[in-house]
Symmetry: C2
Subunit: 124 residues, 2 copies
């Protein structure tokens, strides 16, 4: 296998695994995708990502902030408003993330068809 191949991470393998494991999580993928258009408040993000719990969104936003992919800005309004925004590093993640999400959307009918066929064969 040529050293450039991506299937086995180079460098700090365990760290790359940890990052990939979490970014692979669908909520992180959706959060990054949702912030593409610009900064959003917590509740706006939650509204746009159907089915995400307050807890899951909080945990994922904190991880993305810790990773340096998202900034959290508190504005001294009454009540204070908190906005989340992709960093420059976070924006570079948009291309691979949108690529994966777009692939899944495009391939969903074919995958669903394959699953039905597989399940039928299992029953025989």
């Amino acid at each position: 296998m040529s050293p450039g191949k991506p299937e086995m991470p180079a460098g700090d393998c365990a760290t790359v695994r940890l990052i990939l494991d979490r970014l692979g999580d669908k909520w992180s993928l959706y959060i990054v995708g949702t912030l593409e258009d610009g900064p959003l408040r917590f509740n706006e993000i939650r509204r746009r990502i159907e089915g995400v719990s307050q807890r899951m969104l909080t945990l994922n936003l904190r991880s993305l902030e810790r990773d340096g992919l998202v900034t959290r800005t508190v504005y001294p309004t009454k009540p204070p408003s908190v906005e989340y925004e992709l960093t420059a590093l976070g924006r570079t993640l948009l291309e691979p993330v949108n690529g994966l999400i777009t692939w899944v959307r495009k391939s969903q009918p074919a995958i669903t068809q394959a699953q039905k066929k597989y399940d039928r064969l299992q029953q025989d």
Copy 2:
């Protein structure tokens, strides 16, 4: 938000979510990446994906087979040998998957640095 934006899946949202949730899993990402060069036996895949358990690899390969992304071929050797290979549909997943893995590898130093900075600020 324009309808073409990928952050919220179109069509069968729940199904897209299920697929994305599992494909986002790091093991599926690594399996697809590992099969890029051609068919491999179970133990070859396991050797190449450091840290994957027999159970996790079995479950993920079965899901990928059910999705129509991987074929499982049994050869009537003694003992029978089983090979896994990406389908045509599975090969179309290589680009987004490699894109995400490559991004993580490239961004890992910056992310690790951001995490250390974040953790330091939390301690203050």
